[in-house]
Symmetry: C2
Subunit: 247 residues, 2 copies
């Protein structure tokens, strides 16, 4: 009997930076047509992706939340973090596979763009050889942030580097030296270190701090004015390029 069932298709659904209006037609269709809608979230939270999709999920959809066992309680460098996360992604992939085996398409919701630092990539690597997959790219969180900032990000032949705030100061410095435009993500407790490096490089006056870009509670300010040293997960520093422009 079960051999006659056509397997379901996995959709990696990029939902953009936060504003539901920034969802693409393709992603909206995937959310509306797949009988199963799944997403990752931290324990006790609704999840950013699920929040964006509010109002798009048809009544009667099967909703499947995949709750991280750990986020920042254990450092990323601890092997235990790795072990717990790997086991979690295996288990989450098995839950998704159950629906796919039963012939149900699954829309896995992703904030931003699925293949750009997305959790989607973990089940994707585990399932892509067994099931059909459609990836719906999305507007990235950084694009939402530089749009909120309203300053052109890259001109002409500008080099843009996207840097994690986790890099040590000397590594950040080396990369700032070779970039015209910069996005720094993963600020959190790295914020003050990153700001110090940017100030030392003389780039403070060109830099902006953006929090919750395109979302409720959006904050956009010159980095020079951000002196409290505190930056949540959904924040970025951006340094727009100043490259070739005919004027």
């Amino acid at each position: 009997m079960s051999s006659s069932v056509t397997k379901g298709r996995l959709y990696g659904v990029g939902l953009g930076p936060g504003d539901p209006e920034l969802v693409t037609l393709k992603s909206l269709k995937a959310v509306q047509s797949a009988p199963v809608v799944a997403w990752f979230a931290k324990r006790g939270k609704k999840g950013h992706a699920r929040t964006i999709a509010e109002g798009m999920i048809p009544e009667g959809s099967i909703e499947l939340s995949l709750i991280y066992p750990v986020t920042t309680e254990i450092p990323h460098t601890d092997p235990e973090y790795n072990r717990q996360l790997a086991a979690f992604y295996d288990e989450a992939s098995a839950l998704l596979a159950d629906h796919l085996e039963a012939g149900r398409d699954v829309a896995l919701l992703c904030e931003g763009d699925p293949l750009f630092y997305g959790s989607f990539m973990h089940p994707y690597m585990r399932l892509k050889d067994r099931y059909d997959v459609t990836i719906c790219p999305g507007v990235t969180g950084m694009s939402g942030c530089w749009t909120a900032n309203g300053v052109p990000m890259t001109w002409g032949d500008d080099v843009l580097s996207i840097l994690p705030g986790t890099l040590p100061s000397d590594e950040l410095t080396k990369r700032l030296d070779l970039a015209d435009a910069v996005v720094v993500m993963k600020l959190g407790k790295n914020f003050q270190k990153v700001r110090n490096v940017i100030e030392k490089k003389g780039l403070l006056q060109r830099s902006f701090y953006i929090e919750r870009g395109t979302m409720t509670g959006e904050i956009v300010m010159p980095l020079a004015d951000k002196t409290d040293g505190v930056a949540p997960y959904f924040s970025m520093i951006i340094i727009p390029g100043e490259g070739r422009r005919p004027e």
Copy 2:
């Protein structure tokens, strides 16, 4: 009389990488509601942005094509290139301003994301202090390309660098040294130089060549297999990152 007219609003409308399904709800609404729809194009061409928007523009809209006086006929380094382009952007901005002054909203169509290497930025800088502007971010062309490639682009703490193929070989090499994941744009006549640098760095087996990502005629192949040395404007080389992933 004219002082009583409410000025129009300029919309910078990101239309994504090429597939019309990758347009956002916000951009679609802007195209459908603005009485004037404008776009940049090369002489004799429909224009990539206008092609994506085909079928979205309501009947009766005022359509305004802004035709570049020059594209690759004069090198970018020639002051004459700069002079002609600056004059063109001034003139294009004046045409847009005529509609805005008359109270008509203008949707300026942009392939990809308006603030990411977009021509939109030129009229934007000229008009933003005189008119209200709404920028609708879009899925970038590079995101369309790495989605077409189907390989996760950045993991964990990967550094992503976006490089123009116009950089000299030694400058490309320096930046490849400090990046985990790479996108090289503006290939064209720079293609073979870029490929040589990547091969010399031992990165050829990790690299992909993508042409017309998400569009009709899309080509995705390992860069190692791309041996003809010919790459059109809508092409990219991408080197996916291999960073932290719990498995």
